[in-house]
């Protein structure tokens, strides 16, 4: 599901300046079309993560930057690992 910038601001509970800063930092990478910016549920969940980090966990902007970068690497790894796992299952099905 995609949503407009306004819908996104409402569902993530963000100020527009905050959002612009986050996009500038590439913490959020919404889909840009020729005429508008579209956000997905994934972006909302990611915004909640950033809010948790900055709010409850007391992480500053530099910290958020580092954490997101590591999380993105972690998910890259998890994705690669999941595929590897799938390929191994195909190549050598589990014996009884």
């Amino acid at each position: 599901m995609t949503m407009t910038k306004q819908e996104f601001l409402a569902s993530a509970g963000l100020e527009v300046q905050t959002l612009e800063f986050w996009i500038e930092q590439q913490w959020l990478i919404p889909e840009q079309t020729a005429t508008e910016t579209n956000f997905s549920d994934k972006d909302v969940a990611r915004a909640h993560l950033i809010q948790d980090l900055k709010g409850g966990l007391g992480v500053n902007d530099e910290g958020v930057d580092v954490i997101l970068h590591l999380i993105d690497q972690l998910h890259g790894l998890r994705h690669a690992f999941a595929q590897l796992h799938k390929e191994i299952q195909v190549a050598a099905p589990t014996r009884e």
């Binding site: 994934k42 993560l49 998910h75 790894l77």
Partner: protein
């Protein structure tokens, strides 16, 4: 629900700074997005977060201590964590391969798997770009060639097929954003908006039009010019035509999907000359048969 002090592992007399410290310590360990593979983390984190919602807010904590609200009062609305989306597909713009890029450079069997995973992301098809294009009613029936100016200054030639309807989306393959690697470009999706023409109404492939005619054309018949979406044509109005008489111009409607065309229906409307006309008044007052005719005789009124 457990006692929130127990959940956070603090004594009921703890200061708010201690409570925050305890929460941060637990949340760092338990936040589901910091533990993407730990299914149990989510439940634990929710409990900790709910406890902190209650005790981290001085007002709520006071009410809880006074027994006005219980621990369940702090239950959080369900939250979707980022990790639910992060590994769902390979086309994730956030995912980063630098966590295993060094393995790819190695020449082992493992590297091949990883490389494939990397390629799936690298060869991503470009995005579809959305545009909107307004056209005239006549163009929607007859078809047209339009040129769309893009925000980046480029242009896109769009062929409007005959018979297009308002809101229809045209897909121009490969005219979207460029892809990466061997992933081809996306498509351009053009939503066509048909500007209404006050003269015409369209129903399926048929078009209707109301055509004003003069009294003498109605009585005596004659040839009149009729606008159609593909240009004006000449039509014969038969003698004794009336307001409401419907004439059919065969094949002047929109095209059928399977070939052929719909029709244009022309509804005649007799219009008297503007302003009082002494000559007409004199003529009608002398016309006894006309005065004897009562169009309401059949009970219409």
């Amino acid at each position: 629900m457990r006692n929130p002090y127990e959940v956070l592992g603090v004594v009921p007399a703890a200061s708010s700074a201690d409570i925050q410290k305890a929460y941060r310590k637990l949340a760092k360990k338990l936040h589901p997005d910091l533990n993407p593979g730990d299914k149990a983390a989510e439940e634990k984190f929710k409990e900790v977060a709910a406890a902190y919602d209650l005790l981290g807010d001085a007002e709520k904590r006071k009410r809880f201590d006074a027994g006005e609200i219980d621990a369940a009062g702090a239950e959080r609305p369900p939250q979707h964590f980022y990790r639910e989306y992060a590994t769902s597909d390979g086309g994730n713009p956030y995912t980063d391969s630098s966590g295993y890029a060094d393995f790819i450079d190695s020449d082992e069997a493992l590297a091949e798997f990883l490389r494939r995973s990397e390629r799936a992301r690298a060869n991503r098809r470009g995005r579809d770009l959305h545009y909107s294009l307004p056209i005239e009613f006549a163009e929607s029936i007859a078809g047209a060639n339009k040129r769309l100016t893009l925000p980046d200054g480029g242009t896109l030639d769009v062929t409007i097929p005959p018979g297009l309807v308002d809101g229809q989306i045209l897909r121009l393959r490969g005219k979207g954003a460029p892809g990466t690697g061997s992933g081809g470009p996306g498509d351009a999706l053009i939503e066509v908006e048909v500007r209404p023409d006050p003269r015409f109404t369209r129903e399926g492939d048929d078009i209707s039009l109301e055509l004003p005619i003069s009294l003498s054309e109605a009585v005596l018949g004659g040839r009149v010019r009729v606008p159609t979406p593909t240009g004006a044509v000449t039509m014969t109005v038969p003698k004794g035509s009336n307001t409401g008489t419907i004439m059919r111009l065969k094949g002047k409607g929109g095209p059928h999907p399977g070939g052929g065309h719909g029709d244009q229906f022309v509804k005649l409307k007799v219009v008297l000359p503007k302003g009082p006309d002494p000559e007409l008044e004199e003529f009608v007052s002398k016309w006894d048969k006309g005065k004897a005719f009562n169009p309401r005789e059949d009970g219409t009124s």
